[in-house]
Amino acid sequence: MKIVRIVLQLLVLYGFLLIGEAIQTLLNLPMPGSIIGFLLLFSALLLKIYPLEWIDAGATFLLSFLSLYFIPATVGVVDYGPLFSGKGVLLLPIVIISTLITMAAAGFASQSIANRSAAQKEES
């Protein structure tokens, strides 16, 4: 009964979310409860407290439609038309340039450090 397993595992994911949100409220943390839930699930998997087989099917199913869940939010742009007809249109080049800076920094840092440690291994 694959469908039952998926539904049960979705409930487990929802449980991790609720725990994450409870921790966020309780400790008044400035980060989303879902990220706390993510960290809890990842730790539970790493520490072998929770086996992969008990979450794999549900998580894979949920993530295969990931882009569906944020469409209602992107539709919200309908309320921000005037913003982009004025000065707000400058936000677009800002996002584009900042994205390229991010990519350059991340790609350059990871590649140069990977190359350096590979070179060190060859020397020793």
Binding site: L63, I71, P72, G76, V78, D79, M103, A109, S117
Partner: protein, 229 residues
């Protein structure tokens, strides 16, 4: 979340539009036909045409958006499956993520500040390189506008797909780790789709980078907002 007629109509409409948009994308496989873009344009057109306020639409939209939180939690599973790749390249991956996330947060905040945008808009631009579900929740947490944040996330993603390959070539970033981490940390899921075209190792790197950048970005965004505003 209320169980109203509008809730039923608009949640079904959202899912149906998404299914059609996905079908069109799979049929033609052209980047500008990305289902998020086409479904959004179609739904916006319907709302304008029938004069439906966004608030009414969201009675149904909320039901669909309710899956965002559990989906963020579920990202732990693909990251766990890539744990060996992560362990083997821990230092270069960590260095790339930290450098990318900080560069993104600082440049985004400074540029918007220099041009004199309101604090609300600065906080909306801040999480643009994080995967959409995380970016929206971060925007909500720090006081930005989640739906607008989602739009900037899309702009960042398309920047990665369309301009990323030229930038990587220009900077001689030509290894799977450099390309994958660069694309994933800056352009999240869309960048990861692009990384697939370079090869499976690029794609795994990018997927790991997307998730780690989202987590680190969620942790650092409130700090960046506090430090830079």
């Amino acid at each position: 979340m209320a169980f109203t007629p509008a809730a039923i109509v608009f949640s079904v409409l959202t899912v149906a539009t998404y299914v059609i948009a996905n079908f069109v994308y799979l049929r033609f496989r052209k980047t500008p036909l990305n289902p998020v873009i086409t479904a959004t344009v179609a739904l916006v057109a319907i709302l304008i045409l029938f004069d439906v306020p966004y608030e009414t639409y969201m009675e149904g939209g909320d039901w669909v958006a309710a899956f965002l939180g559990p989906a963020v939690v579920a990202l732990a599973v693909p990251l766990y499956k890539h744990r060996e790749l992560l362990q083997k390249n821990l230092v270069p991956i960590a260095a790339g993520i930290v450098a990318g996330v900080i560069a993104g947060l600082v440049s985004g905040t400074l540029f918007t500040r220099w041009l004199g945008f309101t604090e609300e808009l600065i906080l909306t631009v801040l999480p643009k390189s994080l995967t959409t579900p995380v970016a929206m929740q971060v925007a909500t947490t720090i006081g930005g506008i989640p739906s607008l944040a989602a739009v900037f996330v899309m702009v960042a993603g398309f920047t990665g797909i369309l301009l990323g390959p030229y930038l990587l070539q220009l900077l001689n970033i030509d290894s799977p780790i450099g390309r994958g981490i660069g694309l994933g940390a800056s352009a999240h899921g869309l960048g990861t789709a692009k990384a697939f075209e370079y090869g499976p190792e690029d794609a795994s790197m990018s997927s790991v980078a997307m998730t780690l950048a989202a987590v680190l970005g969620a942790l650092l965004s409130p700090l960046a907002a506090w430090l830079l505003l």
